[in-house]
Amino acid sequence: MSTHIEDLLNEKIEKIKNQENVFDSGKVIKVKDYIIEATGLENVKYFEKVNIWEKGMGYVNQINENSVTIAIVKEYAPIVVGDIVNATGEPFKAIFAKQAIGRIVDIFGVDLLTGRAFDQFEYIDVENPTIPIMDRREVKRPMLTGIAGIDLIYPIGKGQRQLIIGDKKTGKTQIALDTIVNQGKQLANNENDIICIYIAVGKTKKEIKSIYNELLKRNALSYTLIVAATNDDKQPVVSLIPFVGLSIAEEYMKMKKDVIVVIDDLKKHADTYREISLVSNKTPGREAYPADIFYLHARLLEKGCQYKNGGSITILPIVETKGGDITDYISTNIISITDGQIVLSEKEFGKGNKPAINYGNSVSRLGGAVQKEDIKKLGATIRRKFLSYLETKEVYELANMDEMSPELRKKMQEGKQIQEALNQQKFSPLSNAEIIEKFEPLGD
């Protein structure tokens, strides 16, 4: 019998021996969901990684006079008051492996498809400092999605942040997937390498798997990485995942690559952050979100840019709305950060318009600046004609077609033709040349 106890003891001693870099230790005095408080840890640094003895891992989220608040990112067994907390002397970092391209990974360097960790990896900062204003360059190179309604009318440039916003089931993720798949065609002509990063923020495992399958089927995984925090991960992990995804993007950008990042989605991210803030007793503001919710998303999305070395990060954040309302607090916050938005509407979806873009509400702040000369002028003309048609249509809907002035009748007919030409099935990208060919006759 003694051997069993001996074994346990030896195992413990072995672990203590192997436990390197133990700096400081403390004791858990309070447990509140995934936020715990510990005493001791006098020398711990802000955002330092800490281990809860055999039970979990977290980072220092606040240092108080007599205690330290810790956000838990991993919990193997229930943490209770009295558990030992060990400091590590290192900031909390994410793990990233270069061979992860084509896989689904979490922030701990685990390949979620196999459950195994990558053998070659590096530690990366969860969040890098803001990219200085003077290190940015003008956004002017086109990032082609293959969707006529975007490339022609509301174009996106490399380094642009373009929001995709709409209700459930209006095709938001589809636009992002179309964009990723279309990059495969651009690889050959692009001056830089292209890397796509899809960041799943609190999505279900099923959703993530099906996105993986779509990309696999369309040969997009050779240049795409999926970074995921599933909805049953610890909330602090879900709140960190977009930052980690963008830290990875920055690595590639600094290697002079064009990175395209999809964040799916930021409304979920805002809600997660609200939850953590309220659990940590922060004062709630508008709609109970904490006051720094704008800052949170601003500093995240400010990582999108055309960098001075020629690399770039294009960000396509997704926001889910309710009842088609894009004027709620979180949506308008994000709209005010991004360089434009593609608005998808249930109404357009219902009419059978695909992609279901609401052209009246969509915006690209960069417009023609990111289009090649040949498509720029056509884009401006079509956009003006089409918007004018949509507005006129509303007023003259009940008017008698025969009594209309010839100009008005022509406008109505052309508008309808543009609408039809904009319809496009998923995963059937058009090149700029094809778009020009299709729309040129309507642009005169």
């Binding site: 802000y46 969040e127 003077m134 601003a298």
Partner: protein, 456 residues
């Protein structure tokens, strides 16, 4: 070795607690410390007994308890000399355009307060060449003009157009203050100014949206100190562009929440109104020179009744409100004419003709709004002859007030135009009196002044 004045005893993302060794630390003092080669700076915002709370200039990752602090003499200072022109600063007075600055004179950013005696008001008109603005909300030198709008309806475009039209035309000194807005736009503005050799009369301060709330809130004070230098020491008429003053209040809210102060509605700080007054009262003209300011104001959640927005607008002499409903129709600048106004709309200031035309135009356009609802149910054919006339002329007026802007040439594909107020008045009068009744309404979209050619 500098004297140590205290040590850190608590840290959160946007706030540190400090145990003070002596009592000579006051609010707004700057404290600094160094750890592992990184320098951290803080501004004191609250003192209770021996404990002070301070907000960090930058990030606090890696900082720990027990680190001792020094005091930076003079508090937060800005360069106060000719050397600010052509330069770009962060809110803490450091040049960020990659060249050092050899300081001539520095000044604390909080010191200046104007007396009633100093303030002067003049009535000289200032035309912007933007039809809708000059017509509905004309400016005078020394005005505070607000440009209000929700997210993505064109505030920044309008600010840039004003820089283009007013700054370039007047060739007066200007200060651009970027508060909590996009770094990309800030950099592009700088690049454009530099390319066109227009930077020599301008100074810029940026505390953009990716920066800490401390940085964003200080940008306003630092920028205003520069404007005051140009007004008080160089006796200039100064233009101040602030994009975006709402972000100043927002940054203050973030700080106030971190200090666990009790908020008023929507999480705004209790001191919001006085914070706004403090900076707005500095934006004034004196006998030495004038400050004309253009302030973009973000409307959160498209709610114009928002407390912060209302507190700012009480300080304005005029406002242009940009409206999502107008933008949806593709009519830019997307101005809501009913909510836009100016103290200069007064027969004594702009003259009887201008005043009456504004009144008549607003009468037409408000009837048009009512008619739109009727038409949605009955169709146009059911309207009386008079209403039909109002309906068609109003649509033409509405289209006429769109304008090709210089800064959105890329977007519209049309060359920008400035329009003289005399032409605007004539065109509006012509449309109202039926001169353009036979012209298709589409021909009046994105035109500068009309020249009769639209009629063919």
């Amino acid at each position: 070795m500098m004297k140590k004045v205290g040590k850190i005893i608590g840290i959160s993302e946007l706030n540190v607690k400090i145990l003070m060794y002596d009592k000579d630390i006051k609010l707004k003092d700057i404290l600094t410390c160094e750890l592992d080669g990184d320098i951290y700076k803080f501004e004191v915002v609250e003192i209770e007994g021996e404990i002070a709370q301070a907000i960090p200039f930058g990030r606090v990752i890696g900082l720990k308890k027990g680190v001792e602090l020094q005091k930076q003499e003079g508090g937060l200072q800005m360069e106060y000399s000719q050397k600010i022109l052509g330069r770009v600063f962060d809110p803490f007075g450091n040049p960020i355009d990659e060249e050092e600055i050899e300081s001539e004179k520095k000044k604390n950013v909080y010191e200046r307060k104007l007396t009633l005696e100093e303030i002067s008001i003049n009535n000289e008109p200032l035309w912007t060449g933007i039809k809708a603005l000059d017509f509905f909300a004309p400016l005078q030198k020394g005005f505070k003009m607000g440009l209000l709008g929700g997210a993505g309806v064109g505030k920044t475009v309008l600010i840039k157009e004003l820089i283009n039209n007013v700054y370039k035309k007047l060739k007066s000194n200007a200060v651009f203050i970027g508060v909590g807005e996009r770094s990309r736009e800030g950099k592009e503005l700088y690049d454009e100014m530099k390319k066109d050799n227009l930077l020599d009369k301008m100074s810029m301060v940026f505390g953009q949206m990716g920066e800490t709330p401390c940085s964003r809130s200080k940008a306003v004070y630092s920028g205003l100190t520069e404007a005051e230098y140009l007004r008080d020491e160089e006796n200039q008429d100064v233009l101040v562009f602030i994009d975006n003053i709402y972000r100043f209040v927002q940054a203050k809210s973030e700080i106030s929440t971190e200090l666990k102060r009790i908020p008023i509605e929507n999480g705004y700080p209790t001191t919001m109104a006085s914070d706004i007054s403090e900076v707005e009262e500095r934006i004034n003209s004196t006998g030495k020179g004038s400050i004309t300011s253009f302030q973009a104001i973000y409307i959160p959640a498209d709610d114009i009744t928002d407390e912060a927005v209302q507190s700012i607008t009480t300080h304005l002499d005029g406002q242009i409100v940009l409206d999502r409903k107008v933008a949806e129709k593709g009519l830019y600048p997307a101005i809501n004419v009913f909510k836009s106004n100016s103290k200069a709309i007064d027969p004594e200031k702009v003259g009887e003709k201008h005043y009456n035309l504004v009144k008549e135009t607003l009468r037409y356009l408000s009837r048009y709004e009512e008619l739109e609802e009727i038409i949605a149910v009955l169709g146009i054919d059911e309207l009386s002859e008079e209403d039909k006339m109002i309906f068609y002329r109003s649509r033409k007026l509405r289209n006429y007030f769109t304008q090709p802007l210089f800064v959105s040439e890329n977007y519209t594909g049309i060359k920008g135009e400035m329009v003289d107020i005399k032409d605007t008045l004539k065109d509006v009068e012509d449309i109202l009196t039926g001169e353009y009744d036979e012209v298709d309404e589409g021909n009046l979209l994105y035109r500068g002044k009309l020249n009769g050619k639209e009629k063919s």
